[in-house]
């Protein structure tokens, strides 16, 4: 190299230590949230989807479904809010798969951050976008005619439980994205969630399904999760413990899988 062409430049000093887990998780989460907020297609689609879904079930199918004494809208909305993540979660899986396929995860793994903070940051970000989906869908629910059967406090408790589901289910979609070879594959894999969303007591009472289907509908996790939200709204708490147990199980099973899987991108 010729020394004559060199100019004195300010130089970067090496950081004295690698970043801590909290800081690293925050950075990973912030980037994912920025991407979400700055891609109108991502959050706008959620709103369009929620509206169409509620509209169809409330006004198209609703008349033919007999569920509960207080009208189908009061049966439908709590269930949809509780399971909204099953419909938006595909986006999480796609984002995770694309980060892996596109080299972003590799970049993170080549940096000196604690590696589990990649999974933690991702969970933080996606739980936040899920909270947005849950709350905006709940607001739409009121627009479509949903009314609380109990006190506002009961309603808030139900909403809180939905937020817990949001975190728990996020981890499952992250893992799905980590095992998908591409964004498109992740999209396909996330369709499995529809099975759980529809073969449950969320949209029609499980008791109206054929006998051979009922065991699955009754014992899969989404049914108690939906039932718990409905019951909280009415001021009771049946199935809440079971729903929380399922949520905890999701979290405890999928978070370590995500953390380990992120390691070997």
């Amino acid at each position: 190299m010729t020394m004559t062409t060199m100019t004195v430049r300010p130089t970067i000093t090496r950081p004295s230590a690698p970043p801590g887990a909290a800081r690293a998780s925050f950075e990973v989460a912030r980037r994912a949230l920025r991407k979400y907020i700055r891609t109108p297609g991502l959050w706008a689609m959620g709103i369009v989807q929620s509206t169409l879904f509620l509209f169809s079930f409330r006004y198209v199918f609703g008349g033919a479904i007999h569920a509960g004494a207080s009208g189908y809208v009061n049966y439908l909305v709590p269930a949809y809010v509780a399971t909204i993540v099953l419909f938006t979660g595909g986006g999480i899986a796609v984002a995770v798969a694309e980060d892996r396929a596109g080299g972003f995860t590799d970049r993170l793994l080549s940096l000196p951050l604690p590696r589990y903070s990649i999974a933690v940051g991702r969970t933080l970000a996606d739980s936040t976008t899920n909270a947005w989906s849950i709350m905006s869908t709940a607001a739409f629910g009121f627009l479509f005619g949903f009314r609380l059967g109990g006190t506002v406090l009961d309603g808030l408790a139900a909403l809180g439980l939905c937020l817990v589901y949001g975190v728990a289910l996020t981890t499952a979609f992250i893992v799905m994205g980590l095992f998908a070879p591409s964004g498109q594959a992740a999209q396909g894999m996330s369709m499995i969630a529809f099975v759980f969303a529809f073969i449950s007591s969320a949209y029609v009472p499980a008791s109206t399904m054929p006998g051979w289907l009922q065991p699955f509908a009754k014992y899969q996790p989404i049914t108690p999760m939906v039932n718990a939200v409905r019951s909280l709204i009415l001021g009771s708490s049946s199935d809440v413990a079971l729903a929380l147990a399922w949520s905890a199980l999701f979290f405890v099973v999928f978070t370590p899988i995500a953390a380990v899987r992120y390691r070997r991108a």
Binding site: P15, E27, R31, R38, G103, R107
Partner: protein, 333 residues
């Protein structure tokens, strides 16, 4: 600027093997690279270049063998390796919805810089890579070359001692390639050691001091690029004729002048032959072609292509790998 007084080699690979199930991507790779240089890993697609870079970057663990980066073992001290390296992979791993500056600051914080130091590091890199004009635009709007430069910048904000560039210009147009080459040269001038992979011979030519040629996961040659070219073949005279029917005659002329067997390809209307005589042989060939009234679309002397280097290296020397001395003995410059 930094002075290369470090003792540990930049890279030290001994029998590094990486297997994915039944596929062996690296098959006992050996290499030693002294600090203070640009090393290019050259090889065809599937040779194991990317696997090697990913192993150096601690994204993959070697199945067996030993790999040290600036003295740190990639398996035992991965965090210390990660602090020493900056990786720019085959894809520009920048977030398109964030501005160039935001991307750099994020990466700087993930290297461990606190807020103000991260901002400062980002600004320095923006200036260093001449990205001032686009720094505050979302990088989804960047050209291919700008995006790669930003990606390069992201690997620099932690002041790494070794920059890993995996096929840094693949998929770029000539302007973009030139931009990236200039940026890499400037970095090297500033004292950053670079390991890059490429399947372009000219890229290695432009940037590297030393070259390691790998194929099927093994080192098959190492040294300076001219050493390697000299060891595998001479310049080539190449002729493209207007009428394919006369290729046979062209082949004969090439043979008579260069005394080497010509290669003739009817499909592309090309005939070529290695030559020891360079420009003088070329002049003779042109004269003969003219006398025979053969219309030529293109003619010239060129360096052997990577294909030809590989054909020679993998064909002729397949049984006896020929690592030449320079890189292997680790002598500082």
């Amino acid at each position: 600027m930094s002075i290369h007084s470090r003792e540990a080699p930049l890279l030290e690979a001994r029998g590094v093997t990486v297997r994915f199930g039944k596929v062996t991507a690296l098959d006992g790779l050996d290499l030693i690279a002294p600090p203070g240089e640009v090393l290019a890993i050259l090889g065809p697609n599937g040779a194991g270049k990317t696997t090697f870079v990913r192993t150096v970057a601690t994204l993959l663990r070697p199945t067996s063998g030993e790999l040290r980066v600036l003295g740190s073992d990639v398996v035992r001290h991965p965090v210390s390796v990660r602090r020493d390296i900056g990786l720019a992979g085959q894809f520009a791993a920048v977030e398109p919805t964030m501005t160039g500056r935001e991307n750099l600051e994020m990466t700087a914080r993930l290297f461990g810089h606190p807020g103000s130091a991260a901002r400062r590091a980002a600004s320095i890199v923006i200036e260093q890579l001449s990205l001032e004009e686009v720094a505050d635009r979302r990088c989804g709007t960047y050209s291919g070359g700008q995006r790669r430069r930003l990606d390069l910048g992201a690997s620099l904000v932690g002041a790494p001692r070794l920059l890993l560039l995996d096929e840094p210009t693949t998929g770029l147009d000539p302007t973009g390639r030139r931009e990236v080459w200039d940026a890499v040269r400037a970095l090297v001038g500033g004292g950053t050691d670079v390991l890059l992979t490429t399947h372009y011979l000219d890229e290695a030519d432009e940037l590297a001091d030393h070259v390691v040629v790998i194929d099927h996961g093994r080192t098959i040659a190492a040294g300076t690029l001219s050493d390697i070219k000299a060891s595998v073949g001479r310049d080539v005279i190449e002729v493209e004729v207007a009428e394919p029917s006369r290729l046979g005659e062209v082949g004969q002329i090439l043979q008579s002048v260069t005394l080497n067997p010509p290669r003739v390809d009817q499909g592309s209307r090309h005939a070529s032959a290695p030559t020891a005589g360079g420009a003088a042989d070329l002049a003779t060939v042109i004269r003969y072609l003219d006398e025979a009234a053969i219309t030529v679309d293109e003619i010239g002397v060129r360096r052997p292509t990577l294909d030809e280097v590989f054909l020679t290296l993998t064909g002729d020397h397949a049984d006896t790998p020929v690592p030449t001395a320079d890189v292997q003995n680790g002598s500082p410059r």
